[in-house]
């Protein structure tokens, strides 16, 4: 069966290849030259085909009333009915707003933090640098459920570290954190930054380390301050990376990290106005119904919106700075 997938793939691949040939005959020689490259790319392309493209037709289940007996393709077609629940609710606005706003804030906060940490780390030397890097990466290795417990250890009403130790020290009364929605945007943004800054800075650090040191040396000869070096050398050189990472983040604008929004606030109803996102809403709504068509519909909706957003953003980027565009 695996073989037939490859056969399909190759047939397809050559088909498109021929089409390209007809259109741009000049490229024929080039294609011959690049055959080894195509072969090199093949394993990756085949994997994506298997992992993402082969199950893709299954997305039609989002338009069906799934019945196991008839299978995905044989089930009754019911049009857009499975999508209705995402929009026909008063919460539609809240969950969409929360999802988008959090993603935008994460994008900004995480990018700024990651660049700051990467720049600092790139200029430090010695053993402590490694220590810092290890320390800030560790939170990324803890599952969100555990993070939920740790946050709870700080915020629990009766036994929490905040209510028992920190707030009394400042003479502030106990706060019931899990019933006050207003604190949670901050808590979630902080938790997210705490967990991901070590991970996010890796890519920027690698990029900075790849820069030509000559730029900095000549700047130093000219007496440019560190800040100026950052402003006029590092930042412009990082621009393509920033743009690319942002574009990819925009593609996931309608997704949210389920663990962060469900487990960390402990699924507390009182906090829904600031913690409910599309993913948690769908999870809660479908838990009892167990309707795979409706959950597929939610996924498709998120994909399509993300797709449109990223195409739009990419178009914009291409107008402003052609080289930074994704494609």
């Amino acid at each position: 069966m695996g073989n037939s997938a490859i056969v399909y793939y190759i047939r397809d691949f050559i088909g498109v290849d021929n089409l390209a040939n007809l259109l741009i005959a000049k490229k024929r020689r080039k294609i011959k030259r690049y055959i080894p490259i195509y072969i090199m790319m093949l394993p990756g392309l085949v994997y994506l085909f298997i992992n993402n493209y082969m199950p893709l037709p299954g997305l039609v289940v989002a338009f069906k009333q799934y019945n196991a007996r008839h299978g995905i393709f044989g089930s009754k077609f019911i049009g857009l009915k499975n999508f209705e629940y995402l929009f026909k609710t008063n919460d539609a606005f809240i969950i969409t707003r929360n999802t988008i706003l959090y993603n935008l804030i994460f994008l900004i906060v995480n990018t700024v933090m990651a660049i700051m940490v990467a720049v600092i780390l790139s200029e430090l030397r010695g053993k402590r640098k490694k220590l810092y890097q290890s320390a800030i990466l560790l939170p990324n290795l803890i599952s969100t459920v555990i993070i939920g417990y740790l946050v709870y250890a700080f915020l629990s009403v009766e036994n929490g570290f905040f209510n028992n130790t920190i707030l009394p020290a400042f003479g502030i009364d106990s706060i019931s954190w899990y019933s006050e929605a207003k604190y949670w945007p901050l808590i979630i943004i902080f938790t997210n930054a705490w967990r991901s800054v070590g991970y996010n800075c890796i890519i920027y650090l690698a990029t900075i380390m790849g820069f030509d040191r000559a730029f900095y040396e000549s700047a130093m000869v000219d007496g440019a301050s560190r800040w100026k070096q950052f402003r006029y050398i590092t930042l412009p050189l990082l621009k393509p990376t920033i743009i690319m990472l942002s574009l990819m983040a925009i593609g996931r604008m309608f997704y949210s990290d389920f663990g962060l929004f469900f487990q960390v606030p402990m699924n507390q109803g009182a906090l829904y106005s600031t913690t409910s996102t599309i993913d948690t809403y769908v999870y809660r709504g479908l838990l009892q119904l167990g309707n795979i068509s409706m959950s597929a519909a939610a996924g498709l909706y998120q994909s399509i919106v993300g797709f449109i957003l990223v195409l739009g953003a990419n178009l914009l980027v291409r107008k402003l700075d052609k080289d930074s565009a994704l494609f």
């Binding site: 893709l56 299954g58 629990s156 650090l205």
Partner: protein, 299 residues
């Protein structure tokens, strides 16, 4: 000579990083302390940095009843991560390198083909049917290794962009004209120059494999001997979640909850999940930093 200004910058840098490191570590220290607390004291007083009573019960329980399981799960985690990183880096690099060739015919289409997978996939059930019915990976090591994790568009595009921006095409062209084949050009010229990004992607992939529990959740039903340490830990957590929140229609859910290991055991398991990283990470980092600096010097 270091100027006064750069000394100040360094000092500020150290202060900021120390601060961030402490913030990152505090909750982890709390996790560690909780795992060494007495369970009843923890239930009474909550999680605390200064537990009323210390206890090694959680670790004794884990090692006594499950030491084989845990050791095997560790081994699986390491093997999975190592194999995953190796294969993933190979196919990601090969694909990204190809996509970075500006003159490559249908490059745009292929890039889009890759990018498209970042946003679209078939969803759980079709993916499951595909992998189990067509490729028969259920209850095999491949079930942990292949679905979703082996390569992702994000890493490919990241690496491609590094190739495009940091490795001048002229150098590669020169090598090619000198008679080196495409593969040799890549192997001899491009790869050594791309060490920072290889180290980065390797790290991303390694973390993804180490942290993953979802594949085991879906594709390992019978072969529980293939569980990684995260599978063990997360099954536990998911069970507690399922029983305390979802099984509201079942009178007996409390029975199930009572069978779950205690809070301190959970913290001990979480600690065990992070521990190897604390031990191994300095070595990985050495390699990583070396990769970065080497690449940096040449670039």
């Amino acid at each position: 000579m270091r100027t006064r200004e750069s000394k100040i910058y360094d000092a500020v840098g150290h202060i900021i990083m120390s601060f961030l490191s402490i913030i990152a570590l505090i909750p982890i220290v709390l996790m560690l302390i909780s795992s060494f607390s007495d369970n009843n004291a923890l239930l009474k007083k909550g999680y605390s940095f200064f537990p009323e009573k210390w206890s090694t019960y959680a670790y004794e329980w884990l090692l006594q009843s499950n030491s084989n399981v845990i050791l095997r799960a560790y081994a699986m985690s390491f093997i999975l991560t190592a194999v995953g990183v190796l294969i993933s880096l190979t196919i990601t690099t090969l694909l990204a390198y190809g996509l970075s060739k500006k003159d490559l015919p249908i490059r745009g289409i292929l890039t889009f083909y890759v990018f498209f997978t970042m946003l679209f996939n078939g969803g759980l059930v079709p993916t499951y049917i595909n992998y189990t019915q067509v490729f028969h990976i259920k209850d095999t090591f491949a079930g942990l290794l292949v679905p979703g994790l082996l390569m992702n568009a994000f890493n490919v595009l990241l690496m491609k962009s590094y190739f495009v921006t940091s490795i001048p095409n002229e150098i590669l062209e020169a090598a090619y004209i000198d008679g080196a084949g495409e593969f040799k050009t890549m192997y001899k010229i491009a790869i050594p120059m791309a060490k920072p990004i290889l180290a980065t992607i390797g790290m991303f992939v390694g973390i993804a494999y180490w942290n993953d529990w979802n594949n085991g959740y879906i594709y390992l039903v019978k072969s529980t001997d293939l569980y990684t340490i995260q599978n063990l830990l997360n099954r536990l957590m998911q069970n507690i979640q399922a029983l305390s929140q979802n099984a509201t229609n079942l009178d007996t859910a409390s029975q199930g909850l009572a069978q779950m290991p205690t809070s301190t055991v959970r913290m001990a398991m979480a600690t065990l999940g992070v521990l190897p990283i604390i031990v191994v990470y300095p070595f990985v980092q050495k390699f990583f930093v070396k990769g970065i600096t080497l690449g940096g010097v040449k670039g």
